[in-house]
Symmetry: C2
Subunit: 333 residues, 2 copies
């Protein structure tokens, strides 16, 4: 038999399952002698408690669902790591789902996670649509958004984020200070909140510096390396009308860098390049990347902490936790 149960132990010791349960859970109301006998036998028989049964009884699974767009993305991986670290300390397990930035996948992931009766969810929402998140809230499930959020007028939820208007403004201001006036912005899809905010930050920085906004310098793309590559490749077919590039993310910046290199353009001499996120390897790139640091690990940790509060019943209106970002100047600007 693969798993021994308290029933097996009870039979063996000659007591009731209740008594076994008591011994196993260090309850009082049991004689030290029986307890000892039970514990010893349990060990000898290789007993492992069944958390599924326990969960059914207690209607809590000590499990949280993590819904993320891509764990192999160097921006998201440390977030998951941060979650896992704190979660483990608190006795929680993580069920992981990759959505691949696809709404349908996200929706299905949420459904199956609910079926598993996770105690709560940590979500990096796809945002191309968000009916599923609305449903989640309506059903009364506990969840916290990480790194992306919805306008509170649209949908109020807990979230742990950064102020990307500020972060992007910082980045663009840095470029402006370096003397750049024509800054190509290769943004992510603007239905994603962080892309929306970074666009706002881009505009704000220009405005504050008294530089006229040229809408034709704004591109909307994806969040992958390849998106940056593709967009820059196309851009370079035309006469160059910019001296610097602000990329949505370091990943996008890497793709951009590749396209630039293929066109024999030097960074930063010919074109300055600014990323976002400060992924681990940003300093190891061909040209170490100037970027805005996102507190990735912390986003994960704080996300879990907030969720935990909700789980243990700490209530209150939806909360926005804003973590600080920071400019990191390297060689690409």
């Amino acid at each position: 038999m693969l798993h021994v149960t308290i029933k097996d132990i009870a039979r063996e010791v000659g007591v009731s399952t209740t008594t076994v349960s008591r011994a196993l859970n260090n309850k009082d109301a049991i004689s030290p002698a029986t307890s000892k006998r039970i514990l010893e036998l349990a060990k000898k028989m290789g007993y492992t408690p069944n958390a599924v049964a326990r969960g059914l009884k207690a209607s809590t699974s000590k499990t949280i669902g993590v819904v993320i767009t891509d764990i192999s993305d160097p921006f998201f991986a440390p977030i998951v790591r941060g979650i896992e670290k704190v979660a483990r300390q608190e006795g929680y397990h993580l069920i992981l789902s990759d959505t691949d930035e696809d709404y349908q996948t996200e929706k299905e992931a949420l459904e199956t996670l609910i079926e598993r009766r996770v105690d709560g969810l940590l979500i990096v929402p796809v945002q191309s649509s968000f009916q599923d998140i609305v449903e989640l809230k309506k059903k009364g499930l506990l969840f916290v958004l990480i790194g992306r959020h919805f306008d509170f007028e649209l949908l109020e939820t807990d979230c742990v984020c950064t102020d990307d208007v500020e972060g992007a403004a910082l980045a663009v201001t840095h470029l402006l200070e370096r003397g750049h006036r024509r800054i190509l912005f290769i943004n992510g899809p603007t239905y994603v909140s962080s892309a929306k905010e970074r666009l706002a930050g881009y505009k704000r920085a220009l405005f504050e510096a008294g530089v006229k906004l040229d809408e034709s310098l704004i591109r909307e793309g994806g969040i992958k390396m390849d998106d940056g590559y593709r967009i820059m490749k196309k851009e370079l077919e035309k006469p160059r009308r910019f001296t610097a590039v602000f990329a949505y993310s370091d990943f996008v910046a890497m793709g951009t860098m590749k396209a630039l290199k293929e066109a024999n353009l030097k960074v930063p001499q010919d074109v300055a390049l600014m990323g976002y996120d400060d992924i681990d390897i940003a300093s190891f790139l061909e040209v170490p990347l100037t970027t805005t640091r996102m507190p990735k690990y912390e986003l994960g940790m704080e996300g879990f902490k907030l969720l935990k509060k909700r789980i243990v019943g700490e209530v209150g209106s939806p909360q926005k936790v804003i973590l600080p970002t920071k400019l990191v100047v390297r060689k690409s600007t």
Copy 2:
């Protein structure tokens, strides 16, 4: 009430829970009319099946445990991605545990995963000790090792790996063909099977080329970037006795590269550098890295597939699945 149960539906419709269950599971032996009523009401009431209860009854959780040393490591992240991809297609969920290359953490992770009654486990073992894996096998749990394995004389288990003796030999041979004779090998900890094999491959390549082995050119370190940095840093305090470096992994190579750069040594002009793994960003490094490609994504996918076979009951003696590696020549050699 947060979750509605079949009991709630039964009461509402005025039938037994059995009938509800039948409707929900599309069993026959139920009139289309009742079935329709039930299904409609279930939807209206927002019914979501309870996979925990179902799992208890069925004693299968459709969940597999993934025990890995660090998901934010660019070598392991794609492995997890590969697992998740196939697992989701087959209706399985992943419970994720980071061990941080720590045996005790691994041991505890395995225990709690067993408590959760996962249907099987996919493990990148720490290997500094392996009593926990022995226990796992003794208990009859289903698991497959990924990327690392034990000598079959020591412990026979399923595993999906690469032939790293071969891979390393390939790498070192490449260096030899470039004219290098004094190749510093910055290896990982040799209790890890891949490090052991790569060392064997290093030796074999030298032997086959008729180059005398100089043990003093072999270093045993860790698997992180910082290990490569630290070791090379120390190495450079002494007179240089090598013209090329073979690093245990791309990550280690990146650390090495950093130390080299700080010493104003050019790669590959002053020192050639060879990595291992071919992590996604290897081609984007300051000096694009020559390396041996590990089929990361495939390791994950094949790992799950093999595990699945065991789960559905396909038996047979422990199986070693060997995936091919490939030399990728870039600029660092």
